[in-house]
């Protein structure tokens, strides 16, 4: 028996400990987890540079490669955090029962998933940083402003982490995530300004594109990088933060019922 009264760790320390768990698991396979985020943009550059780039010289007033390079860091953040908080979370929830173990320690269900959203943000940050490094090395991303993609990558990762947790809270069968990926994320990749500007969309569809979370993340990266500043960016930032908070809140409420029975 201990001599002193045990103390409950503070919120920051509890969130950090959840984050630390994910970081330990992720960094356990450094090569297989750390190499693809660099390889992917390299492959993309080769494909676009050698092929597509010859047919499309410029887009929205900038070289096409630059246009793409100002969106790819955050789309990369989106996909990695979406995988983490769908398949990853589901496996921890249903197969490995990791949360059942962790919840016996002095952490709450809310801690578990806020920590997880922060981790999704961290992965987003890491993945966007990888893309930024590769794109900048090939001269496709204007510096220093292109670095803005890194913090926006964090926000994008956190937002899609929270949204994906909310999706996971509804999913009982792991195969159902296919609907989310092919029905939501893939279309979003194409209709959020990644490969062509939104103003080339029909006027009737444009408000729909503004509802896509990715649209705001891309604008927050591309516009400052290309030295285009406007008040819209503040609205984009507010959108990211708000969606993250609301989605995380709902996800925690729903996931709580799957863990505390």
């Amino acid at each position: 028996m201990r001599d002193s009264e045990p103390r409950v760790a503070g919120l920051a320390s509890r969130l950090f400990s959840i984050w630390y768990r994910h970081m330990r698991v992720y960094t356990r396979n450094l090569i297989s987890n750390g190499l693809p985020p660099f390889l992917e943009p390299v492959i993309f550059l080769l494909g676009v540079g050698l092929g597509l780039g010859r047919y499309i010289a410029s887009m929205d007033g900038v070289p096409y490669l630059v246009f793409l390079a100002t969106a790819l860091p955050v789309t990369s953040a989106m996909f990695t955090s979406a995988y983490e908080c769908t398949f990853g979370t589901f496996v921890r929830l249903e197969f490995q029962k990791s949360y059942d173990g962790m919840i016996a320690a002095p952490v709450t269900v809310a801690d578990l998933f806020v920590g997880e959203v922060l981790w999704a943000g961290t992965k987003g940050l890491f993945f966007s940083a990888c893309v930024v490094i590769v794109m900048a090395a090939f001269g496709a991303l204007p510096l220093p402003m292109g670095v803005v993609a890194v913090p926006i990558g964090f926000l994008t990762g956190a937002m899609f982490g929270a949204l994906s947790l909310l999706v996971t809270s509804f999913v009982k069968n792991i195969n159902h995530f296919n609907f989310y990926f092919t029905g939501f994320l893939s279309p979003m990749f194409f209709f959020s300004g990644t490969v062509f500007p939104l103003n080339s969309l029909p006027r009737a569809i444009r408000p729909l594109a503004e509802l896509m979370p990715l649209t705001h993340a891309i604008r927050l990266t591309r516009d400052p990088t290309l030295a285009r500043f406007s008040g819209v960016l503040l609205a984009d930032l507010a959108f990211l933060v708000l969606v993250t908070i609301v989605a995380a809140h709902l996800a925690i409420r729903r996931l709580r019922r799957r863990i505390v029975v």
Binding site: P6, V8, A9, R24, D100
Partner: protein
Amino acid sequence: MSGPVIIFDNVHKSYRGVKAVDGISFDVPPSICFGLLGRNGAGKSTILRILYRKAERDSTPSSTVSVFGFDPERDELAIKCRSGVVPQEDNLDEELDVTQNLLVFAKLYGMPRPQAEARIAELLDFMELGEKHRANIRELSGGMKRRLVIVRALLNQPRLLILDEPTTGLDPQVRHSIWEKLRQLKRGGLTIMLTTHYMDEAFQLCDDVLIVEKGQAVLRGNPKALVEQHIERYVLELTEMTQAQQVLAQLSLSDARVERSDESLRIYAGDYGGLQRLSDQLAPGEHHLRPCTLEDVFLKATGRRLDARQ
């Protein structure tokens, strides 16, 4: 701390209309081992989960749960930092090795790294897992995993250890070794609360047991006292019915109690000599005269028939 560690008063818990816990009350004084006995689905695990808010009790106004004076629904963290939990499933992180699993939990408990490392080394030695400190979880045997989960539960020097079926599925050597460790911990002042359906385990470890049936408390007491007070001292068991009629015809003991099913006959009595004479007259075969155990008390209290939840 002199009052009870755990107070459970008139607690209810239903799952979609099914009562898993139906008005249970008990308390657990410090530094004892308290056992919950019951068949599968009797509500044992639910009771444990309510203690650390892995489950929430129904909001019946008259019901109270208190662990170290804290209500799990208001102060779950205060309870959890004083308790260690060994859940029914070994939910270890298979993506991490033995030491990393423990370091992650030390972090969850807010332990500084050097203190965590010292504690991990000490506990791995205590549970005889010292050589496995760098092993992958998949390389461990069932008994090692179980011991590792116990180490994990002891990291924060808890005052209460909650174990849900600590030795189910383990071989006798491992079971006895775990029992010895738990006894050692109890002598050190730890309060232990466990569930089991092994009556020998309850008899070996528990100072106090509560038999639970369909979410209700059926019988409570010290295992040895229960055997002395709630069952005859001996039983003659016939597991083949060919000689049953002969036995029943010759049965002349005054205090004998007969229990029969299609496949077996049991005669309970306090008079060993009488049962001995009865058994001597039987042809050699499927019959056996033995002292009654906690298992006999349990079966008498809860019935032999299977129920829908099993």
